[in-house]
């Protein structure tokens, strides 16, 4: 460490032992994903702003589904939230150095994500309107479409984490990719709650009626 220098009082940073590269979730990658989430979160905020702005200024009858059916949407929402827990379970097992448990968690999250996407396609097909029918229809399909794009990216991320875990890349110390990817998946799931609330719940609360 810094020895005393005779003529000048030098302040050389007093460093102890420092981690080399990302350790745990401590690394620049986590900050990068946080930035990504901030930007994408803003994107969804503007999409939902567009919905509320258009809806608030629209004449009665704007909602094409005044009482949106929850038959597919509610179970699908629960499935997506459950997939977040599965992903968390996978990350937790990386910390415990249990690779099989980790693979189980990431694999289950992946399957649930794919299932969500498939059910969402059926949900779209069940609608009596198409994206060009009216501004409501455009907002519904484009907002859920943007979310679907994020789900697809998330599915690819989960697949990558699964593969890398299978290749035995990670340890409790070197696992930033896992934590960053799982954080992104949590974001995809949380933002869906806002989309779901907007399109499926607020009509029951009287918005746009």
């Amino acid at each position: 460490m810094a020895e005393a220098v005779a003529d000048r009082e030098l302040v050389v940073a007093d460093t102890g032992s420092l981690p080399v590269g990302p350790v745990g979730r401590h690394g620049l990658g986590s900050w990068g994903v946080a930035m990504l989430i901030a930007g994408e979160g803003a994107l969804f905020a503007f999409l939902l702003f567009s919905y509320y702005y258009t809806g608030a200024n629209a004449p009665p009858g704007w909602l094409l589904e005044p009482e949106p059916t929850l038959t597919l949407a509610l179970p699908n929402t629960i499935l997506l939230i459950a997939s977040s827990f599965a992903a968390w379970f996978g990350e937790h097992n990386i910390l415990r150095q249990r690779r099989r448990g980790a693979l189980l968690g990431f694999g289950a999250a992946f399957v649930m994500g794919v299932a969500f996407a498939i059910v969402q396609v059926f949900e779209w097909l069940s609608k009596s309107y198409r994206f060009g029918t009216s501004s409501y229809a455009s907002l519904y399909f484009v907002t859920t479409g943007f979310h679907m794009a994020h789900v697809v990216v998330g599915i690819v991320v989960l697949a990558a984490i699964f593969a890398w875990t299978a290749l035995d890349y990670f340890s409790p110390r070197r696992r930033l990719s896992v934590s960053a990817g799982v954080l992104y998946w949590h974001f995809v799931d949380v933002v869906w709650l806002f989309v779901f609330t907007t399109f499926y719940v607020t009509p029951y609360l009287g918005f746009g009626q």
């Binding site: 940073a13 990302p22 350790v23 900050w31 901030a38 702005y53 258009t54 060009g132 990558a160 035995d168």
Partner: protein
Amino acid sequence: MRTADFRTPEIGLDSTAHEARLKRLWETSPGIKGFFTTVDHKEIGKRYIVTAFAFLALGGIEALVMRLQLAGPDLTLLTPEQYNELFSMHGVSMIFLYASPILSGFSNYLWPLLLGSRDMAFPRLNALSYWIYLASGLFLYAGFFTGNGPNDGWFNYVPYALRDFNPGMNQDFYALGIVLLGISTTVGAANFIVTVFRTRAPGMSLNRLPIMVWGTLTASVANLLVIPSVSLAFFLLWLDRQFATQFFDPNAGGQPLLWQHLFWIFGHPWVYAIVLPAMGMVSDGLPVFCRRPLVGYSLVALSTVATMLLGFGVWVHHMFATGLPSLGLSFFSGASIAIVVPSAVAVFAWLATIWLGRPVITTAFLFFSSMILLFVIGGVSGFMTASVPVDWQLTDTYFVVAHIHYVLIGINVFPVLGATYFWFPKMTGRMLDERLGRWNFWLTFIGFNLAFLPMHLTGLFGMPRRVYTYAPDMGWDTLNLITTIGSFVLGLGILLFIVNVMKSLRTGERAGANPWGASTLEWATSSPPPPFNFAVIPTVASRHPLWEDQLGEESAKSSIDRGMLLASGKETIGTSPLDAAPDMILEMPEDSITPFLLALGTTILFVGMLLKTWGVVAAGGALATLALIAWLWPRQALREREPAHG
């Protein structure tokens, strides 16, 4: 072989052997390979600057052609359609392709040097940001040169931008080009934010940051949050045009005003994003020529942030004439007027710095100090239009055109030209010619004011903006002729600037490490800096590490020649967000082709969308996805994974 997960960085003095080792680790390979793979922030910064100046020149030529058309009444040099594309492309070039990227260029080049680091937090993201910026500029100009440029002004209101009224590809080029550019700006903003919070030299706590860093940080936070708004607006516009969605068409419940909201929620913070870093250049550069520290550092830093916070809540002042409820107008009018306060703080701080200092008159000083005057003029005309009744009188007249040019040329171009005179020696090792510089400054200054000061009157006399010609008996003839003459003088000034740069690159006087006797860290390393910036990581003990002996304010001294060596790999130090205490050793990525490939794939994807050729979209998407997977693949060299087992 496995290296330790934890290490205490070796502390030592700079030496030739040490520098040679660092150079091997950090230097970009020469030739075509290095060109496409470099992640050196200095190289990327210079590319940004050169590219942005090229767009400035193009936008300037467009403006001069328009000024010829407007030199007298009833001229027929341009058709109305040509005029529409020219004024739109002029705005797009200046605002999107010059004003923001030029600041990104300076910040990219300077930040790691100002912060005492060896590169940006995400060097590959930095390269990606540049390539996508270049691609979007080429994309937009490809439209313009094939007669498909934007033709509805830079803020592109619907319904004129919709397909019924605008059936060509003009708006599709514009919409997709801006979405593409948005990717570049967003990843750049994210990079700046993480860089400032995680890669400062030890000891450079937040209250020791140069003001330019505050400016770019503030702008970056704003960009990260509001670029999605404009990207979304343009994407929805493209969907409305090409896939018959109904976001903006009132016949199917759409909202034309939604466009204006989404655009200006982005647009007004963006105005601050393209001036705050430039104001930071003045706050950092001007005091060097006044031979004293900036007066009121903390107030200026806080007012930078305050300007942006208020700036999020003023967008409706662009929409005063759209018939919104008066309660809403009052709120936005009040917020717009309140912005005067933080702006005035900066002005008085600069004036006090000159007043209390011993000014050395250089070309850079002239550009920086004249900016104060132009800022006051542009600020006052902005303050006037913040008042709703005044705005109703002046909106869509040349008064607003005069205002925006005082703001954008006065607070962006003048500081940027000053910054070029100031930092050119650091970037190239040579000084810009001072004699040519004086001609450059006075022609630019006189030409600019000759062109735009009378334009306030043109507007007050009622001349509407964006009209390709005017009748002779309106009282606008002389004013327009003066503006045209002024604009050519201004153009001549800019031409001299380019001449000066070309000439000085070859024959300019050699600059030492610190030709201006400045105080911040970038002047502690050689001109131009070595690929690794600093042989040892400096430790900072004050706001002015190179002026400590003269100022004698701090008991502790910064350490420039002695510090962490960090030479066992391509490494720099990671520090804590507030106090900049070292908290990790960062393994920096090698040069890589993946940013270029990702940018290429993304561009192909956008070209496919433009042509609605789904095979091209799929090919571009596949290339982008593969590049991204390769990029993110956990690598042992970056300590992102454990070594292979077995």
